[in-house]
Symmetry: C2
Subunit: 437 residues, 2 copies
Amino acid sequence: MSHKITALTVRDVRFPTSVEQHGSDAMVRSASVLCSVRLCRHTDPDYSAAYVVIHTACGLKGFGFTFTLGKGTQIVVCAVEAVATLVVGKSLQEIVSDFRGFYRLLTSDGQMRWLGPEKGVIQLAVAAVLNAVWDLWARAEGKPLWKLLVDMDPRQLASCIDFRYITDALTEEEAVDMIVKAQEGKQQREDQMLKEGYPAYTTSCAWLGYPDQLLRQLCTDALKSGWTRFKVKVGGDLEDDVRRCRLIRQMIGPENTLMIDANQRWGVAEAISWVSRLAEFKPLWIEEPTSPDDILGHAAISKCHSRVMFKQFLQASALQFVQIDGCRVGSVNENLAVLLMAHKFQVPVCPHAGGVGLCELVQHLILFDYISVSGSLSNRMCEYVDHLHEHFTSPVVIRDAHYMPPKDPGFSCEMLESSVQRHQYPEGEVWKLNISK
Amino acid sequence: MSHKITALTVRDVRFPTSVEQHGSDAMVRSASVLCSVRLCRHTDPDYSAAYVVIHTACGLKGFGFTFTLGKGTQIVVCAVEAVATLVVGKSLQEIVSDFRGFYRLLTSDGQMRWLGPEKGVIQLAVAAVLNAVWDLWARAEGKPLWKLLVDMDPRQLASCIDFRYITDALTEEEAVDMIVKAQEGKQQREDQMLKEGYPAYTTSCAWLGYPDQLLRQLCTDALKSGWTRFKVKVGGDLEDDVRRCRLIRQMIGPENTLMIDANQRWGVAEAISWVSRLAEFKPLWIEEPTSPDDILGHAAISKCHSRVMFKQFLQASALQFVQIDGCRVGSVNENLAVLLMAHKFQVPVCPHAGGVGLCELVQHLILFDYISVSGSLSNRMCEYVDHLHEHFTSPVVIRDAHYMPPKDPGFSCEMLESSVQRHQYPEGEVWKLNISK
């Protein structure tokens, strides 16, 4: 069967997370959403997705999306529509038999490369489309994405990666060698994952806007549910941060793990002085202390928009943890390059998640990393945020603070059609009610 | 008068430069356009602009644009429409009295910052809007933009710059000091510019696709017109590059200046080996040898998308020349930061130009740099490409290979309304005729 792609549709789906804060039952969840982004000056954080469906001649569909915020979605939708013209008419077989070529076609289109290259809106649009292609491929093979990757021949895996601009850090031959070497013990690791799952940490306990009482309550609940790793948002007010970090460290005790996240709040000097005040609470890492483009200014960890940026952060020893993202870099193809480079530089990968569906996506990548690349769980964990999972057909399953490997075929990208219709902007029911938007 | 902004319109204006190659008279000019971008894999290079007009209550208008390619324009237009909502209703006075705040409002909008920050489509859209604001301001003052900047109080100049993320390289106090120090000799430099103009170099002689015969002819003509500095496109085929560089070096002699431009063609190792073969022709610089994001991989020069990237290239001594751009960074505000940092690091600024209207824009910035910041012409020159000037109401004036300072009020952004209407996509006359597009 050829799986010829006959159409690619994209919809603007927005969840009114900045409006719901005025609700009552939804108070806690919405406040968490609100506070998570306020520090980034995301004052109106309607968590959103540019949601892609690929249609094929045989009826099989692929689903994909990228995570955005509110009115930014319409810009990404416009970019996806432009990228779509490069996809429709091709067959899945044609694409995956030269996936590197297809990746380059999308990231190097003559008229759109100028808008990046490989960054910002264009990269988000390419990620949404490629996520749908990978979902389609996994569905065609009847496997969850992580399993498709784990079972794939090392040469074919490497052939999905565009090594342009990174061969000074990682060549194709090195990549193949690394994957071949990691075959040892693969089956045991896969069995282990299916039984125990992949360790997660929670960001749902300590958003910036929470009163101390709520923070205490959430920590108590989380400890009872088996959570041992906690991330705290900081960067609003220093004395406030000191008090909150002290409280949480007291709650979770010295053995559990604490991370802090400043959401790009500081300049370089400010970051250094601020963080030294918080050092007594022994954070494992400081996330996004400054501009995400500032390689030389970084002393810690960062999210990056492409393999070229990740390469330099690694080369410059400017990060101690790599946070991959399912929507911000060029989908699975580019994440493969980042996972392999991180392994070469022996830096642990701890995926970024949250938003809309980011947990659903990255669980596949981190399972693949453990089973087929790094083979290690040391200093590794995957972020977990507890919201918006109810809109997905195959939501993540967390058990004892671990991600349990998904079993449904695909990349876990599909949303409930009823959720999509209700939240489509501006015509969906949710938005008709929120006329103030 | 309050200059209250009542509307902001944006139009998708495309010049069919990839189609015109089939014309006859236009052959040479169109071939030049075509070849300039082919190496970037811009195979369908319709030079385009997202063209902005700001309307005010008193009837004064501000014009601005950003340079794009073909279908990429519709994505930028969509982004400009989103940014416009932040501008309409404000007055010019309100904006310029806190220009840093306004810059941050545009670059840090909660729902759009996620799409960058400060890069790609969003940054291009912000640049188009800010270019129009600066044009409006200069018109309101009845001065060309360079003169508005030259006459501005040092503190007010510095107050237009967002120092966030760059204070480890340049603080506001340092910036003010530098501008104050450079006041000495300012009047003489301004007089000199008005008399002699700012030195330019030409990129119009040696596009990659030119046959040797044409190349010889164009070099001969340019030498006769007083040109002494020439840029050659390379990166297609090494033996071809060697032959063409040898030919041009022979034509222009050992005293004149040669630069080469690889348009992001190579990986790092490839760049080093390729460039060493061309070293015998003594190029002054090698432009864009690799990915524009690769700071550590750069051994030469680069165009960057923000002050955060420029800062690091300077800190890492990864470039020997800074190429500013009128559309790719955040307009005048961010270019001021880059000019000041370049001066602090003692790296000469040689603006990037060409495209649509880039020459018209950067001439203002480089005049300001000479008169009010660097005070030096050593190793400095501004790129010149000879096309599409006929569509502007105040096109650049070149005399003896020098840019003559513009005298009309504004930022030279305004296009002829007839040109805009003819080239508007898809409804303009030019596009109706080119139905194949």
